[in-house]
Amino acid sequence: MRGDLGFRVGTGLFGLVLIAIVVAIGFELTRESMPTIQKFGLNFWRTQTWDPVAGDFGALPFIWGTIYSSILALLLAAPIALGIAIFTAELCPEPIQRPLIFLTELLASIPSIVYGLWGIFVLVPAVRALEEWAPPVLRQLPLFSGPRLGVGMLSAGLILAIMVIPFTSSVAREVLKSVPAAQREGAYALGATRFEAIRAALFYARTGIVGAVMLGFGRALGETMAVTMVIGNQPTVTASIFAPQYTMAAVIANEFTEAADPLHLSALVEIGLVLFAMTLIVNVLSRLLIWSMAPGAQGPGVDAAAPAKLAAT
């Protein structure tokens, strides 16, 4: 008994360390960003001038770039990830199912910097070609205006999409697998075709699917290296997908080593604080949605065969 108690307390403490780390990060980020919070207040998030030399900091372009690139990635990745999930969970022949799952999860384990290199050497030239090919009429639209550099929002969105697909598709697959067989059988018994039965399963799993897509969104928000390498790093707020822009994570990575001025440092930390809060909220929300559907679904790296038991509704 005494041994058990010690064991429980010991492992419990390690568990508490996790919570302590999260709280400590939040606390430290807040403390370190006090100078800019006090000096600029809400204007920090409303203005667009980012001039470290003049000591003028407005972070709106970074938030804009982060959310824009993540949403763009989401729009590109969600249909593809969902297609992969449906295929591997429902349609794929048994022998190629495992290799396919392994391959998607392998995508998730490629280091971000490698994606970035691939982005610079393959994706950016391809996007540049596309931009040069775009007819002038199209380029009149705000969505497609801007210089033809290749680096910019479109490249960032594309590379983020590729990086997010494994996460969204793995979780969506687990969610789909957790749909009780009785749902599909119910549809089949009423004369449903395979497509209609899968649609019924998707409908049943809708909450979890939304969670899977949101989880991908959370990944995209915080992704740093690959995006920094292809987005062009220009703090502007523009709707154009061809224009170079900037993200929160990218500006921290780029400027942190050079931030000698305490105010500059504080500005970067404040951006980090908000990024921390955003990803935390998005991740918590998406996990709640996924767990409400499939308590076993964890995402890549976890045994996909773990049976996801569904809470009886």
């Binding site: 749902q183 018994a189 009423l190 004369g191 075709t193 509704t313």
Partner: protein, 254 residues
């Protein structure tokens, strides 16, 4: 038994992979009667009922030998459209499985996917008729748009019956439809089965011998994948021909 059988099963063997689950089943099921399938767990009665609407097709490794004819047409013939077959042979499952939609949309599902109604009024009429046929209408008429998941277990099962009836099947298969329900809900389902047989041919799997005796006209006793005996229900329960049947119905095993 001079009637033409609605379902005629001849020399049916059923395999899951290399494992034979059903062995040389020969059975005739008459129209507008309730046929009960009884037997201990794992005797193959569920597999048998699921082969009547080819629900086992979706199980990997399932294989069928022999023939099952409905109205003299072999349902395992290559020319048969499975989707159409399942429309004609409805099914109610052991555990109620309503879709997470409104009561109305659950009943309308089969009508919609099969494109069986041409106007909203017709759809509404069919949904209402089905809910009435399943003896659920009076309980849900005022809340058709609320979620089906808010219904009680017994109501959900009657909703599933209504859903199956909506597409006007000729045969209704019921796989232990009342096994998860309390006695009162069970009684309602049994009364419903009794009413439905004038319009449908009903095959019901049940664990419960009293239930078989109450609702069915004909009872078939399965044991270890074989059909041991099939006879009029009152005869099978009072004067079984086989020793095995007698042992089972008197509770000596099972």
């Amino acid at each position: 038994m001079i009637l033409t059988p609605k379902i005629e099963v001849a020399g049916l063997n059923f395999y899951y992979g290399a494992h034979r689950v059903l062995e040389d089943i020969n059975l005739r099921i008459q129209p507008n009667q309730v046929t009960a399938l009884i037997g201990p767990s794992g005797c193959g009665k569920s597999t048998f009922i699921r082969s009547l609407n080819r629900m086992n097709d979706i199980v990997p490794g399932a294989r069928v030998e022999g023939s099952i004819c409905i109205d003299k047409q072999d349902i395992y013939a290559p020319s048969v459209d499975v989707v159409n077959l399942r429309r004609r042979v409805g099914m109610v499952f052991q555990k109620s499985n309503p879709f997470p939609k409104s009561i109305f949309d659950n009943v309308a599902y089969g009508l919609r996917i099969n494109g069986m109604t041409s106007s909203r009024e017709e759809l509404r009429g069919r949904v209402e008729a089905s809910l009435k046929a399943a003896a659920l209408w009076d309980e849900v008429r005022d809340r058709l748009q609320t979620s089906a998941l808010a219904l009680s277990g017994g109501q959900q099962q009657r909703l599933c019956i209504a859903r199956a009836l909506a597409i006007e099947p000729e045969i209704v298969l019921m796989d232990e439809p009342a096994s998860a329900l309390d006695p009162i809900a069970t009684q309602k389902i049994e009364e419903l089965i009794y009413q439905l047989k004038s319009r449908y041919t009903i095959v019901i799997v049940t664990h419960n011998m009293q239930q078989a005796a109450r609702v069915s006209d004909v009872t078939a006793f399965f044991w270890l994948g074989r059909l041991v005996e099939c006879d009029r229900t009152n005869k099978l329960f009072t004067a079984p021909k086989e020793k095995l049947t007698e042992d089972y119905i008197t509770g000596r095993f099972g």
